[in-house]
Symmetry: C2
Subunit: 320 residues, 2 copies
Amino acid sequence: MTEGPTLGELGEFAVIDAITAGRRHGDAVRVGPGDDAAVLDAPDGRVVASTDMLVQGRHFRLDWSSPEQVGRKAIAQNAADIEAMGAVPTGFLVAFGAPVDTPASAVTALSDGLSAEAARAGASIIGGDLVASPQWTVSVTALGDLAGRPAVLRSGASAGDVVAVAGELGRSGAGYALLDAGAAEPALAALVDRHLVPQPPYGQGARAARAGATAMTDVSDGLIIDLRQLAAASGVGIDLHTARLAADRDALTAAAVALGADPWAWIFGGGEDHALVACFPAAAVLPQGWRLIGAVTAEHDGVTVDGGGWTGRPGWDSFG
Amino acid sequence: MTEGPTLGELGEFAVIDAITAGRRHGDAVRVGPGDDAAVLDAPDGRVVASTDMLVQGRHFRLDWSSPEQVGRKAIAQNAADIEAMGAVPTGFLVAFGAPVDTPASAVTALSDGLSAEAARAGASIIGGDLVASPQWTVSVTALGDLAGRPAVLRSGASAGDVVAVAGELGRSGAGYALLDAGAAEPALAALVDRHLVPQPPYGQGARAARAGATAMTDVSDGLIIDLRQLAAASGVGIDLHTARLAADRDALTAAAVALGADPWAWIFGGGEDHALVACFPAAAVLPQGWRLIGAVTAEHDGVTVDGGGWTGRPGWDSFG
């Protein structure tokens, strides 16, 4: 297989020209890539913004992920942060570092993944940077719009609220465990795919906000650890009900049997599914796509499971 | 000297708590660090956005720069991109990667530099990410506001316009050469400081826009290479006049003598000064702080110097 010229052979400007040529931008993009900065509509008069960095060997492996999958994952996890505020993504900026001997075709494939996932999230790549780095490093900033609504913070939950989730839980953790074990059963490939490219429930953040969500976050580090932060910010406790999570457990049973693992460890501590988890007033009608998984309590004892402590790993720490 | 606990010993969340505690935000920051995303005022109804990644060993060296200087440089160069659109910076997001054994105190010092330079630029750090990485990597996204004005693009220059600059030229290139040669004369320390922490002329981007600038960019890769891009985007040529740049040459003479170097190479090809260079209609009154350095011509022959070609290095390529 010929991989074509490298970044070093083509140079920064030629590669940027190649990956930006012919890209279509949404109507919200007044000035796209190619000038000193982009200009993006912010119709609300406020802009929502979040940034995440993915480092090769730490957040992805190029022997597991294709360049396109790396790009899709980087956009998906940042888009989920915008959704978790009750906003909709409007644009993404991508700074990318790679070794000088990286084939330019790999950067084009990464760029294809970035653009495809941005389109799925309803937005465009509006700007970026391309530099030399010892390993691949992808740093994405996502921008979004609240359409006049208040932002849904982590701090708004009250005792008596219900806890609900949109999207899937535990799939990414199971997929990682399968990859790590070298288990390649075709029947389990969908879980691996979910680890390589998470599927946030696009549109559900704004839908939850319109339905009256009092607090929201996305499941990035692990359900328990992410809800601990929400509970601490709100000054409440949260109790999760395993009976309400049976569908997630059932979806993971085959992988758990194959690996001799506990599916609940993936559901509660796996992270990287980028599902949305939110609190709603007990009287609220949950929007379509949301399912009840627990309750907000007055006890300041963090997050419990069926009323008891969770003794497994609660999630991921960047330096753990 | 005790360096205290490392990132790995404290963990991601404790370090983030330590560097965000007590930071003050500007009035434009509705939601600062600590939630899934930040919320920033965008009073114009559009937001200007740019991103740059700095990689240790490529864009800075920790044996040359203090962590605080790295932070200040990262903000300054991104702020200059916002200024170059005729906008004012309103907020910065910073994704930072570092080895697990990095002293947390170094990250605090980096954060101090980020915040101090953001304040100089008139804005705040509104969000970020902290991850493990084999080397220091700082990725900044700058956001800005146009206050109702059109963005000043690279493509708006016309034959007959004048070319003017705000800020200094060649200092960063001279400072780099001094560092690279191990030349440590105290009399030349100011040039080294300029390389380690560029000083964009904050506020001059908006001032140029109000004065009618037709095209603008910042000097990041090198005066010639940056103006070539502007000239190509505008479909014009640019001729620079060395007689108008005598003050820059004079400021570099001592360093040039010390190193046996040509000061014009730093002025025309040095880059990283993050001065602003703009075109104005010939009849415009240049704002205070701007000085005439050349003219826009109808010939599509790129950038010339005193009517002839520039045969030196035109600037920097990320993969060169």
